[in-house]
Symmetry: C2
Subunit: 342 residues, 2 copies
């Protein structure tokens, strides 16, 4: 079977990846699985949370992105991401200035989240046409503060922060600017959309929310967008999540851009929004903790018995999701490829 | 300045990478530096040793290689590599069988060293022409057993295991087979050379040697070969290392292949050989511990005051090295490129 671009399907991960995990180690509290981005390792009273992710396609700020993307996954477990290792792969013929920009970016992102770069590898790699950065992030948290995507329980409320698709909106504004202009999207909207990328870190609000003790599960939606993130969380916790479109904030720039391109903002890559399930009686404490960090948060739905995601559209239709969501941004790449061929 | 293929120069790492390490963290016992492959983090009575490395150019067994290459760097600190995270990047149009082979390989390598795969990321990446695997390896060791490349002291003896250039010999036998045959190298030598790749793990002997308490510094020579590894260790420990060519084992297949291609086996990529500096009075204990693991070890030189490496050739000449060694295998790639252009 020829594999499609992007993340490989759940079924293949389950068959060819998750069955091949070396030896069993009793200290591994959480290993690989759908929606389980970070590993959790028992160190006695505390646990080590560790995650690794690549940035392979972004054009700008890749060092900065790489740090935030990996750090987010550690933070959603309640562990402050403190230690980073970045592997930097540069294309042949790279000027020193490329490395200069990437490491300055990594450093800036690390300082923003108060993390330390402790290792990595830097090389010029043959037959690459753009730089790539792969960052490992790690942190420590006490066992009683540990949160994963597995803990959502029927009855919990679902909180979302910021807005959906902010990462995707920024990527589209940068990479499809010509296209947007040709569709008469005003320049000021495109320029504002580009700045959304600055919002992709969820470290501070995740740590603050989890420290209240009221969060049962947390997840950072990335590819597959907000709905994709909900599906991953629902699968990891073995529950159903019901959410209502009219309760979920979408920034006006995201709306305008998605409408112009006929894509669904709820399935658009979505780092920066944080999904939390919380005990009903702790709802207000968690909301206050997030807001004290200067981040908006909304109650968007509820955890129920069952499996997958039930998405109540404004239109009145109800969509049910149980499988991996193909990110809307891949549609745009496909269209672009098609346009350039014909 | 346009950067050359492979690792970037020490001077650039010092200027553009090691100065940009985010915030300072008191728990970081060992961060990035020349010859410092693993990060060491203080967890109280124990330390976390963590390392990340990419496999970007190998053609075969890349999952297997990636695990061993990263695990080796954790083991040279005395920590058993127990937890692995592998990022798998596949080229567009990859068949499922490619992923199948890589994950089976990762699993096999993990089982060989008794490690557990705890996380990672698998994706199909646009505009790649071959798969890449980036593995993070981590383990825990007590503070009193921790060894790094910084601890070599004048008066220590230098031990090397197995043989130099075994990794490079295997790579050449695989990738330059035609060339070797055209130079009348017998097929049985080429076939034996290919099997050397099975020897690249140093986990068992490193852990056994370090557990004696007699090892002051340990390093796993990779690119730049045996001399490159010695330079890195010498720089990390701020000492001079004197070694004698006639004491260092070179397998006959390596000799034949290197002579035919006019390359220096002592500067040929060398995973599988382990460099240790040991207290003189613990020399026999360390040697016995390594040999009990079924691995050959040799006393090859001594640590003295000074800086860099003094290499006494059999011919009587004395070479002094203080800078990064360009690996001999890059010469072959350059020649191949040249041949294919003209």
């Amino acid at each position: 079977m020829t594999l499609a671009l992007g993340k490989v399907p759940y079924s293949l991960l389950e068959k060819k990846v998750f069955t091949r995990l070396g030896v069993k180690d009793e200290a591994v509290i959480l290993g690989p699985g759908i929606g389980l981005d970070s590993a959790v390792i028992d160190l006695g009273p505390r646990v080590l949370v560790i995650h690794c992710d690549p940035i392979t396609e972004a054009k700008k700020r890749i060092g900065w992105l790489s740090v935030h993307i990996s750090a987010n996954d550690v933070a959603v477990c309640g562990a402050k991401p403190r230690w980073l290792l970045s592997v930097i792969l540069l294309p042949e013929g790279s000027d020193e200035s490329v490395l200069d920009e990437i490491t300055a970016d990594i450093d800036r992102a690390a300082k923003e989240i108060e993390a330390s770069i402790v290792g990595g590898h830097t090389e010029v790699t043959p037959r690459l046409d753009r730089p790539m950065v792969i960052t490992t992030a790690a942190g420590i948290v006490s066992k009683k503060r540990l949160v994963t995507a597995t803990g959502a329980k029927p009855g919990d409320l679902v909180i979302a922060t910021k807005s959906v698709g902010i990462e995707g909106t920024a990527i589209i504004a940068e990479d499809f600017e010509e296209d947007l202009r040709s569709r008469a999207i005003p320049v000021r909207i495109i320029e504002r959309a580009k700045t959304f990328i600055e919002d992709i870190s969820i470290v501070k609000e995740a740590i603050a929310a989890i420290h209240t003790g009221g969060v049962t599960a947390a997840h950072d939606p990335t590819e597959g967008g907000f709905i994709g993130g909900l599906v991953e969380l629902a699968k990891a916790s073995n529950v159903m999540i019901e959410v209502h479109e009219d309760k979920i904030p979408v920034r006006s720039e995201t709306k305008v851009i998605c409408e112009a391109l006929s894509i669904d903002p709820f399935k658009l890559i979505s780092s920066g929004s944080l999904i939390l399930t919380v005990k009903e009686n702790m709802f207000e404490s968690v909301m206050s903790a997030i807001r004290r960090e200067g981040v908006d948060a909304y109650m968007v739905g509820r955890v129920v018995e069952g499996s997958g995601v039930k998405f109540y559209r404004k239109s009145g239709s109800v969509e049910v999701y149980e499988e991996m969501i193909i990110d809307e941004i891949t549609k745009l790449w496909e269209r672009e490829k098609h346009d350039s061929i014909y």
